[in-house]
């Protein structure tokens, strides 16, 4: 195929096929859920209508859509950075939790100060806490060869237990004046300002979009991003050309975890204003689907995070209207993930490009 400049510079075969796959995946997911709804005795079309009405039909609904988009976008970026380096960070939920803990701590321990400084301190604390929770599996992988998938799952559970402990009856972060297992509320100066009347929507959404652009620049316009992608594409070639695999594994997982921590901090400072166990309703797991559907490209992830934001906020309305459990969304999520994982359509289209190794596998 003769390629013109534009085509070869900005679009390649892989991303074209990934885009087709993404669109097909979303349709296929709704198609499957259509039949699940039919089988469980619901009328699918009004249910789908309620899903979108919930997400767009009211000022509050739209605010909630963008509100959910924020942590999904940040989490999706976290997953994407690691994925570009060939790492599978399914530990974002734990990293979000740690980020939330740190942000809440500095949020209520520091009394009222200049809001810009206070929010900044809390966000940095969240980033650092999440970053540490990402650094650990990175270090364990680089130094001891522990597969990150297993270590991050263990760290997830440990993070959940830490959060539960901190706000439990004897926990050090428990609000002694409240019966709820939660921390005290953060100071007013630590709260991220809301931007839409009668909604909970706050500045975090702009922050998240800004971070997406930064991560795009990092991955595709900076030397570090190039090295990260080189390690992900072909670690041996990267190593041979002087890029340290180990160093970049640790660094990438720390960045990935930091993005999760940022998501957790923003969630606490902008939405809940206090820490309680399981404050993140699975954003870290949805982040996997967000990143994959967004073709692991920060700009694509902005779009896919918005789609998942729609599903998140719309599903609440859907459940209230028709009694369809909002976990129906997780089925949509799962199917989209399945679809994005497939490589056969690409395999067939690019058949002549597949070269096998000596043992019959393809790297």
């Amino acid at each position: 195929m003769k390629k013109n400049f534009l085509y070869s510079t900005f679009i390649d075969n892989d991303s074209v096929f990934a885009f087709i796959k993404a669109i097909l995946g979303v349709f296929f997911a709704f198609f499957v859920v259509y039949f699940i709804l039919l089988a469980t005795g619901y009328k699918p079309l009004p249910v789908f209508a309620a899903l979108f009405k919930g997400a767009f039909g009211s000022r509050r609904g739209f605010g909630e859509t963008l509100l959910s988009t924020t942590p999904l976008l940040l989490g999706g970026l976290g997953f994407a950075v690691a994925y570009r380096c060939g790492l599978f960070n399914i530990g974002l939920e734990g990293q979000i939790t740690m980020g939330g803990i740190a942000a809440a701590f500095f949020g209520f321990i520091i009394p009222e100060i200049n809001p810009v400084i206070h929010v900044f301190i809390c966000i940095i604390a969240g980033i650092v806490a999440g970053g540490i929770w990402g650094f650990i599996p990175g270090y364990l992988k680089a130094k001891f060869g522990v597969h990150e998938v297993i270590s991050v799952i263990m760290l997830n559970h440990i993070a959940f237990k830490i959060a539960a402990y901190l706000v439990s009856m004897q926990g050090p972060m428990k609000d002694k004046l409240d019966d709820m297992p939660a921390s005290p509320f953060i100071s007013d100066s630590a709260k991220i300002i809301r931007i839409m009347d009668r909604t909970r929507l706050h500045w975090g959404i702009f922050l998240a979009v800004g971070v997406a652009v930064l991560i795009w620049l990092l991955l595709f316009r900076m030397r570090l991003g190039y090295k990260i992608r080189a390690v992900g594409k072909n670690p041996f070639a990267a190593e041979a050309s002087g890029i340290s695999i180990k160093k970049h594994i640790v660094l990438t997982l720390a960045i990935s975890g930091a993005l999760g921590g940022l998501a957790g901090a923003v969630e606490i400072l902008g939405v809940h204003y206090r820490l309680f166990a399981a404050f993140s309703p699975g954003y870290g797991f949805d982040a996997i689907a967000v990143a994959l559907l967004g073709m692991v490209n920060p700009l694509g992830i902005i779009a896919s995070a918005f789609l998942f934001g729609i599903l998140r906020s719309g599903s609440v309305f859907m459940q209230a209207m028709y009694g369809v459990n909002k976990d129906m969304v997780s089925v949509i999520t799962a199917i989209i993930v399945l679809f994005m994982g497939m490589s056969v359509p690409i395999g067939i289209m690019l058949k002549n490009r597949i070269k096998r190794n000596s043992n019959g596998t393809v790297d």
Binding site: I36, T40, G41, F88, I90, L140, K143, F144, G145, V146, H147, V149, I150, S151, I153, M154, L155, N156, H157, I158, K161, I162, A164, Y165, S168, Q170, G171, G282, F285, I288, A289, L292, G323, V324, N325, D327, M328, V329, S330, V331, T333, A334, I335, V337, L338, M340, G341, M342, S343, V344, G347, I354, R356, S358, N359, G360, T361, V362, D363
Partner: protein, 311 residues
Amino acid sequence: MELLIKLFSITVFASTLRIATPVILASLGGCMSERSGVINIGLEGMMLMGAFSAVVGSWFFGAWTGLLLGVLTGGLMGLLHAFMSVTLKANQIISATAINIMAVGLPNILIPVIWENHYGISPTVPVIADINLPLISSIPIIGDIIGHQNPIVYIALLLVPLISFLLFKTKLGLRIRAVGEHPLAADTLGINVYRMRYIAVTISGLLAGLGGAFLSIAYQSQFSSAMTAGRGFIGLAAMIFGRWSPKGALLACLLFGFADAFQASAQSAGVPIPPEIMLSFPYVLTLVALVGLFGKIALSPAANGKPYYKG
């Protein structure tokens, strides 16, 4: 001293076996799948679906039918993973992650459909009762530990040598290992790579389903959302620790089972450590165990995780 006796009482060892059982089954599933060259981090989801179906089956038809249904559902999930990773050549970690996500959501959708006004937790259902082993239970100490257990505990313990035999002493096992090490060579010798992987991954799902069923209709008597709590992943860690062999994995599983039983007994004995911190003990131990393997991991099947393209 009194505390020590309490902590290391015979009940701790008996519950070690019970707690280790689902992890043993998951790690056996891991051995089957990964020996054939398919990474299976979907064990967690397969267990969860197995646990859910077992409860549904037990509610409508009784505990043993529930068990069967749980095992078959696990197998079906295994088949799905095989279809994705063998036929469609999906990224195996992504495919399994999808299974894990679905396994958290699907039961939550179905529970209120099956049982009105129940959300996230099923009602209690008939369970598979513990049995007494006639002769063994009368032996002191040993009898107290293994003489009175759930049938699935015994099944799991029997499956360890059985799976080991299957993998290392039978023709089928040799073929499964061959496609996990060098699929092209196996293919050249006339072994059907796809079929071997389908068989192995489906068996892996069946085992995970059994582990899940044990959790919901033997260890407990109901299903609750995400009740597997990472046991599928701990099973995988045990498999790695046991270097992809059932017998090695068994030891690791017993270690984790002991950690969990120990923290439970420490809690009831009133050790002044917060329960949430105690509960994280098995997860911390898993991490420490994996770190302790430093330098010894070179035994992963060579073609593990790589799709095979028929010529």
